[in-house]
């Protein structure tokens, strides 16, 4: 190898001839190829492992659960013989609708403020961001404790649908805010400029141009939130509790499907039915994911 003294001038440093250092064939090529193969193998194994875990998990639940999907599990009314999941299923829908009815407008409006109105870098924006991130990180058991202390006890709502729905609404609020925010940011500024350029005000621009364009993104956020609500247990046992009936008012206690499954499993009396319920829960999650896929597809098409 040629030694080059540090004192040499720039002119000397230009390349007399290429190929000074780097052989183009031989062992270096082999090393490079082996490294490539090793890395390729590594990522494939990891992906395979992930896939295997999923297949095993799902397969296990299906194998154990499907034989237990007897008609009485879907009877209209719950009793201790059939441990029907129908009321819990309906309650899940009601609970989801109720929580979303609270959190969706809040989340969308908050995101509109963040993206369209707030001054970047203002103090309030920072605080809103930090608190939203905090909310997103809080574990459901802490939400459960809070819901119990605040909604159930302090506001005297008791164990009730409304206490559960408010707790869940706070829990999913950051999800909706974040996805809406991203969807709004993704709307090209040229749409806004176009609208302003025609003399439209901010409100009109937001509601007639920006929001419709962001709708698929917002919808996928709402679906994401739905998934979290459907799967939630810890935050609900301390707030909405467990009555296996369709509630007569928002102040009635109610149990969702996930809570239903948890309770069924507890005393060990209904293990078969627990698996059956798990299958239904899984199907529900699949349907929700499918919906979000559909929405995402719509988004891609535009």
């Amino acid at each position: 190898m040629p030694e080059i003294a540090a004192t040499q001038t720039a002119a000397d440093m230009t390349y007399a001839k290429p190929h000074a250092f780097l052989p183009t064939g031989g062992s270096n090529r082999r090393a490079a190829r082996m490294q490539a193969a090793a890395l390729r193998w590594l990522v494939r194994m990891a992906a395979l492992l992930t896939a295997a875990v999923l297949v095993f998990l799902i397969g296990y639940i299906l194998v154990m659960g499907i034989p237990n999907l007897k008609p009485e599990l879907f009877a209209w009314e719950y009793n201790s013989e059939n441990v029907s999941l129908t009321p819990a299923l309906i309650n899940t829908v009601l609970m989801t609708a109720f929580s979303l009815a609270i959190s969706t407008p809040l989340g969308i409006f908050a995101a509109i403020w963040l993206v369209e109105y707030a001054h970047r870098g203002s103090k309030l924006v920072k605080v809103v961001r930090v608190t939203t991130e905090t909310l997103q990180g809080i574990p459901s058991i802490v939400y459960g404790l809070f819901g119990m202390l605040f909604f159930v006890t302090k506001l005297h709502w008791g164990y009730s649908m409304i206490a559960g729905a408010f707790t869940l609404a706070i829990m999913v609020l950051p999800v909706i805010m974040r996805t809406t925010e991203e969807a709004l940011i993704a709307v090209p500024d040229s749409y806004r400029e176009g609208s302003f350029g025609l003399g439209a005000g901010k409100l009109r621009t937001v509601f007639t141009i920006v929001l419709p364009s962001a709708m698929p993104g917002i919808l996928s956020g709402v679906i994401l939130a739905t998934g979290r609500i459907v799967g939630e247990t810890a935050a609900l046992i301390y707030t909405a509790s467990s009555v296996a009936k369709i509630p007569s008012s928002v102040f009635s206690s109610t149990r969702t499907l996930a809570v239903h499954m948890y309770l069924l499993s507890n005393e060990g009396l209904y293990i078969g039915q627990t698996y059956g319920t798990a299958v239904v829960l899984l199907v529900l999650v699949l349907v929700i994911n499918g919906l979000s896929g559909l929405v995402a597809g719509k988004l891609a098409k535009r």
Binding site: L42, A47, F109, T134, L135, F146
Partner: protein, 297 residues
């Protein structure tokens, strides 16, 4: 002018909605702290935080075992989940064909959507016996000198949580990998690097902060997970004894005993929730620091 008025009113409404999250966090803080902090002082902050014995029946409330338990289990979950998750994300982002991704993506979403109760059930019935059989095997006895391992253990909980945080790690890392401009990848290829080298040495470093966010989010999820850990961790209140011994996390402590606790015991459990909440706040702080760093660069 009416339209000006309307604009003003709606702007106010939007601002108020944005402040709801502030209100929520404030309420959560107030109600948890108001219930937990006095308890903390009733028991004695040091006695509570550093006490190594938890015997509610005898009014001894030390949660150090649970704090350590949460930390160990979370660390274990990260050790299991991050490498697998990150590599899977790399695979999906840079190696898999669109056809494979069409299956993988919903699969990962499904993994994320499965309720924790179901994970816990699965862990209890499949993972625990498997680990039990593993630690009882001659290899563990003679080669690794693991004398008395249990199925319900730190190891099992870490593996189960590692699986549960996979979707978080995968989606967040994949998003940040996808967001890396192609120019880095092309720049590397143009220097004669292979596809694999380009991905690992040029694209991955560029996604560093995203991967770090993924890890921090994973930590947050793992430390907060409740229903699944309870079923597989053994839940002993002793100081954590080893990889193949049971331990109890803060979340388990709350969910296990809340049902039967009364008086000071119940308040001590709420105080445990406060400690957990503080942990989460710290993790969030790290998260914003990491993200803040990214904005700065």
């Amino acid at each position: 002018m009416t339209s000006k008025l309307k604009e003003g009113v709606m702007q106010g409404v939007f601002t108020l909605c944005a402040c709801v999250s502030i209100l929520a966090v404030a309420l959560i803080c107030i109600f948890l702290f108001a219930n937990g902090v006095p308890t903390l002082f009733k028991i004695g902050p040091l006695k509570f935080l550093l006490g190594t014995t938890w015997k509610p029946g005898n009014d001894i409330f030390g949660i150090l075992p649970m704090i350590l338990g949460s930390i160990y289990v979370t660390a274990g979950a990260i050790l299991v989940g991050v490498p697998i998750g990150l590599l899977t994300a790399i695979y999906m982002s840079k190696f898999a064909s669109p056809r494979i991704n069409k299956v993988m993506l919903p699969a990962v979403q499904l993994l994320a959507g499965i309720p924790s109760v179901v994970y816990g059930f699965f862990g209890m019935i499949v993972l625990v016996p498997a680990v039990q059989a593993m630690v009882k095997s001659p290899f563990f006895k003679t080669v690794l000198h693991v004398k008395s391992g249990k199925g319900m253990s730190l190891f099992t909980a870490a593996v189960l949580l590692g699986i549960m945080i996979l979707p978080t790690i995968i989606t967040v890392s994949k998003t940040s990998l996808d967001a890396v401009p192609d120019s880095y990848y092309e720049g590397s290829l143009a220097l004669g690097a292979t596809h694999e080298r380009s991905v690992f040495y040029a694209v991955l470093p560029a996604a560093k902060s995203g991967v770090l966010s993924a890890v921090i989010l994973g930590i947050g999820r793992a430390i907060g997970e409740t229903m699944a850990v309870v079923m597989v961790a053994g839940n002993q209140t002793w100081m954590p004894k080893g990889l193949f011994q049971g331990l109890r996390t803060m979340t388990s402590n709350i969910v296990i005993e809340m049902g039967y606790a009364a008086d000071l015991h119940r308040e001590a459990l709420i105080a445990t929730g406060v400690v957990l909440f503080v942990f989460i706040l710290l993790i969030n702080l790290c998260f914003s620091l990491v993200k803040g760093g990214k904005d700065y660069a």
